[in-house]
């Protein structure tokens, strides 16, 4: 695929009415509201332009796109003039050519003529337009005042801003406003002095810029230019693939020079992102070729031994013989595996297949255990399917948006921008969060209600909201009567209507004023389309599953489900966490969420796989760790997860890993878990493999290999080798064959295949005979389970209580520039925004303890202690502190406890009772961590000294 993309000039318009006009003698029919420029472009007629681009609303400033319209005076701008029935347009005439040439001459008179050495050479719209209009001379000279000596801003690690090349078309400013919604850029000054300015005439790095790249993407010249392009030059081909960061699953064009990625460009045709991106997906890909990548298999007898460099065959044979030895000695159930939400569907499917078919047990789990397992449980119990109900596009039709325990502008930034756009259009906003996240108040966005609850009281809030809706008669009786199970509803109605669930009764528990809860409930129930978006602030609690069911209750009782603009929308954390769950990564479920005890489903898999399957559920990750400490679980195969950093109670996790006899880690880096491994199998990044990812809206998108795997093998090939060495044959030649097998065994994937994915770009499951091109909105006429099922969601306080010894509540979360355990983003320039995890503390709590900004503080819980720098901020409420877990040395999960969700064992990351006090040195755990890490790095270096 080439690297030049067709730009139709202005955005598409949706209208049921069509308009027919004549452009340069051709009859053209387009939707009402379409610009002349776009109508012409769709008919293959290119009108010169500079300030127009089809990702932004027309602006009409460059005066290059002028046309002639019969019966109208002058030369209207084709970008801002909508088509009209019977209109006759001429895009070319002698007079138009003269005007355009004069306009271009003025632009070029204040633009450097360094085209041959310019980074945009060959991909510059200004250069193109100069050619199109036939500019041959600039009569004004360069002696007068100009901007050619304006200073270049190189502060951003990923792109430069060269005002000397700026034509002040405002595309960057408009992209920052319309596409990203940050409003970090402006045009400063007037007339000739007009200049693009980040913030208050600041550098990009000092401004509010979030480095999403929208301005760079919009710039028609080299004014805003990727440093990678400046360094390497223009790409010569591109490959469409899917981002490997968050659950939005943005589509990108990897622009390449041979096997080298020049830049990642958000795909305008991407169904999840529509041409937008964030700082991670757009720029933070340097980790893929980072020097820390391990590209040779390694083994060792003990974790205190140096790593030994071996061939693939030796490593695989060693791992297989160890698993066989352990199973022979301790039993079939003494080993298991963890699939990866960062790997593809096909790779995840193979790992769970290996566990079930080659290990012969169901001890398989995935990182959803520690994030969205309550979503799977709660939505299956109420609606019948373990997935979100909508598309991301659905937010465009929402009238009131409820964000619960999610921080979309940081965690899911591209969707966060879509949400902000809808809010700017007038949708109402309710935020339920203990912290004042950016959405509560940011440029042109203001939450109507911020229910700033105490951590751990989600269920009390959702019950109070439902109580108001029921007792004030705001519920949707016709929907409930027609779509939901009556006996369960009757029981739930009696429960929820009880005065104990009123906002007034619960105010002392939640800390949220009752009138605010009542107002929010009324707003959600009566404002038209109500859409709920939630994240880990809902699931990572002792009542995570209860809260998910409470959210589903709320959507059902208001009839906010089964159409566009409404729904229950879990914002999934990792890129393929939805897919990992879909692919049978849980110990109780086969692919497609069919329970392992279902004899019909099991028979289908047994027939296809040629083995007998164990009908009982296996161990979850925390169960595996407990069983390791009691000696009944001795070996584990971990693909692309880092439980020693991501899972709670780090010291418990590492003790369990140390207790195992064989830990096999397949990863691209020697992560924290790999430091406890006996076998290291080098993994491949998303750029080095073929497959698919499934995002938070059930969208299956292609992942395409743009470079050969650095270690020589894609991850699915490694799993296949291990299965074969274990004596279970796998003989796939390409991931498409794995997808074909998935489709043959998984009803919701029945219609999915690579040819269709190539044709459609992406597919939202269910995709089957009834919905051959996928299902954007679920539960339209009936719920997947038939009737919707209301569940009683009694509030049960967490056992993690504050005491005099531990008087504060620690809650954890994420930030924009870092991702999950940071293994990827820590190895990029994103550390310029966030180089360490810090502890947010309210000014009053800080003052009480004599803590000052930036000072080291000890954070101690019942599980452990760590030391972080303090950030004093009113974003957190008094009594609550907050941190992130992106850096292993921070030890955020040394503090978190083994409390977990009652239904799924999802850890209660969001509520840990702690004490915070000033300290002068690292914690004991941090000292031990540093020593151990240094030892492990030395053992790796010993391998390198062997000539690996």
């Amino acid at each position: 695929m080439g690297i030049r993309y067709i730009d139709l000039g202005t955005p598409a318009r949706r209208s049921e009415r069509e308009v027919t006009l004549e452009i340069d003698g051709m009859s053209v029919t387009v939707a009402e509201g379409t610009s002349i420029m776009r109508a012409a472009a769709e008919a293959g007629v290119s009108i010169p332009k500079l300030c127009a681009t089809d990702s932004l609303e027309p602006f009409g400033s460059c005066r290059l796109c002028l046309v002639e319209i019969e019966g109208r005076k002058g030369y209207p701008a084709s970008c801002t003039t909508p088509v009209a029935e019977g209109m006759v347009v001429r895009t070319q005439s002698g007079q138009l050519a003269k005007v355009r040439r004069n306009v271009m001459e003025l632009y070029i008179s204040d633009h450097p003529l360094d085209c041959l050495t310019c980074a945009a050479n060959g991909n510059c719209e200004l250069q193109d337009m100069a050619g199109v209009v036939g500019l041959r001379e600039v009569r004004y000279g360069y002696e007068g005042e100009n901007h050619l000596k304006a200073e270049k801003d190189t502060s951003n690690p990923y792109f430069t801003f060269d005002p000397a090349k700026c034509i002040v078309c405002s595309r960057c400013v408009r992209a920052c406003e319309e596409t990203q919604g940050t409003f970090a850029l402006t045009i400063d000054g007037r007339g000739f002095a007009s200049m693009v300015s980040p913030g208050q005439k600041e550098d990009f790095m000092d401004s509010e810029c979030v480095s999403c790249g929208a301005c760079v993407q919009a710039c028609p010249t080299a004014t805003l230019m990727e440093k990678s392009v400046i360094e390497k030059g223009q790409a010569e081909h591109s490959v469409v693939t899917t981002c490997a960061y968050c659950g939005v699953g943005c589509s990108f064009r990897a622009e390449m020079q041979g096997n080298d990625v020049v830049r990642m460009v958000p795909n305008k045709d991407g169904h999840a992102n529509h041409g937008h991106s964030c700082v991670k997906g757009r720029f933070a890909i340097g980790y893929a070729t980072h020097k820390d990548r391990i590209t040779t298999p390694m083994i060792r007898k003990s974790i205190r031994d140096p790593w030994q460099h071996v061939s693939w065959d030796e490593a695989i044979a060693h791992a297989a013989s160890e698993f066989k030895r352990i199973q022979a000695k301790y039993g079939r159930g003494s080993v298991g595996g963890i699939t990866s939400s960062r790997c593809t569907n096909e790779e995840t499917y193979l790992v769970q297949k290996l566990v079930r078919a080659a290990f012969g047990n169901n001890n398989v789990d995935t990182c959803a255990r520690v994030c969205h397992s309550p979503t799977g449980y709660g939505l299956k119990a109420t609606l019948g399917e373990s997935a979100g109900t909508q598309t991301f596009d659905s937010v465009e039709k929402a009238d009131v948006i409820v964000v619960i325990g999610a921080n979309p502008t940081d965690g899911h930034p591209v969707f966060g921008s879509r949400m902000k756009r809808r809010l700017r259009e007038g949708a109402k906003l309710i935020v339920v969060d203990p912290r004042t996240i950016d959405l509560v108040r940011s440029p042109h966005v203001q939450a109507d209600y911020h229910l700033k609850l105490r951590p751990g009281t989600n269920v009390a809030i959702v019950n109070a909201l439902a109580h108001v809706i029921m007792t004030e008669g705001l519920w949707n009786k016709s929907f409930v009567d027609a779509r939901c199970e009556e006996p369960a509803f009757v029981k739930w109605r009696a429960f929820i209507s009880d005065a104990s669930n009123s906002p007034e009764a619960l105010e002392s528990i939640t800390g949220v004023p009752a009138d605010a809860v009542r107002g929010a409930a009324r707003l959600y129930a009566t404002s038209g389309n109500g859409a709920i978006y939630y994240g880990l602030g809902v699931t990572e609690h002792s009542q995570g599953s209860t809260m998910v069911m409470g959210i589903a209750n709320l959507a059902m009782v208001t009839g906010n489900i089964g159409r566009e603009g409404v729904g229950v929308n879990p914002l999934r954390g990792q890129n393929n966490v939805q897919g990992a769950c879909d692919m049978g990564s849980f110990p109780h479920e086969l692919p497609g969420y069919r329970h392992i005890s279902d004899s019909i489903a099991r028979a289908e898999f047994e027939h296809a796989w040629g083995v007998r399957l164990e009908p009982e559920p296996g161990l979850r990750i925390p169960n595996m760790l407990d069983a390791a400490l009691d000696g009944s679980f001795r070996g584990i195969y971990i693909e692309g997860e880092d439980i020693a950093q991501s899972d709670p109670d780090t010291q418990h996790v590492t003790a369990a890993l140390e207790a195992m006899e064989c830990v096999v880690v397949q990863d691209i880096f020697l992560n924290e878990t790999a430091k406890f491994a006996h076998v290291f199998l080098p993994g491949s990044s998303f750029l080095e493999k073929n497959g698919t990812f499934t995002n938070a809206e059930r969208r299956i998108s292609p992942v395409r290999k743009v470079m050969p795997p650095l270690a020589g093998k894609e991850d699915w090939e490694v799993t296949q080798m291990l299965a074969n060495a274990l004596g279970y044959p796998m003989n796939y030649g390409h991931p498409s064959e794995i997808m074909d097998e998935i489709a043959s065994l998984t009803p919701t994937f029945k219609g999915v295949n690579y040819a269709k994915l190539d044709r459609l770009g992406s597919i939202q499951w269910p995709c089957n005979d009834k919905t051959p091109e996928g299902t954007p909105t679920m539960h339209i006429d009936e719920f997947v389970r038939g009737k919707g099922h209301f569940v009683i969601t009694r509030y049960v306080p967490t056992e993690e209580r504050t005491t005099r010894q531990y008087p504060l509540i620690l809650t954890t979360g994420r930030i924009l520039s870092q991702y999950n355990v940071g293994a990827q983003t820590r190895r990029t320039a994103n550390v310029m925004w966030h180089e360490e995890d810090r502890l947010e503390i309210h000014p009053s709590d800080a003052e009480l303890r004599g803590i000052r900004e930036g000072e080291w503080v000890g954070v101690r819980s019942r599980a452990g202690e760590t030391v972080l720098r303090a950030v004093i901020t009113e974003r957190v409420q008094p009594g609550v502190v907050y941190t992130t877990f992106h850096f292993p040395e921070s030890g955020a999960n040394v503090i978190t406890t083994d409390n977990s969700d009652w239904a799924t064992n999802c850890p209660e990351f969001k509520v840990t009772a702690v004490q915070v006090e000033p300290v002068t040195q690292p914690s004991e755990w941090q000292k031990r961590f540093r020593e151990f890490s240094e030892e492990q790095i030395a053992l790796l270096a010993a391998r390198e000294a062997q000539g690996a």
């Binding site: 005890s597 009908p615 161990l619 169960n623 009652w902 239904a903």
Partner: protein, 75 residues
């Protein structure tokens, strides 16, 4: 496995289901949940604990555990 951990898990499950006003449904819910989601070795251990007294189990949790279907020896 550490029995305190299993006891805590069952008690947590029981606290959810005890909200059901129908006692029999609550017991059924707990039994169904443990059967569907617990590995057999965990079930064996918690049943043995309940049979031995299981004083740290809530009354509802203990009743449900004692109603769990037997785990096959092969599992």
């Amino acid at each position: 496995m550490e029995i305190e951990r299993l006891v805590k898990m069952v008690n947590d499950i029981a606290r959810f289901f005890e909200a059901d006003p129908d006692h029999a449904e609550a017991v059924k819910g707990i039994v169904g949940h443990i059967t569907r989601f617990w590995d057999p070795r965990m079930r064996r251990e918690i049943v043995a604990h309940a049979k031995a007294g299981g004083g740290d189990l809530s009354a509802l949790a203990r009743e449900a555990v004692l109603n769990l279907p037997p785990v096959s020896a092969a599992a």
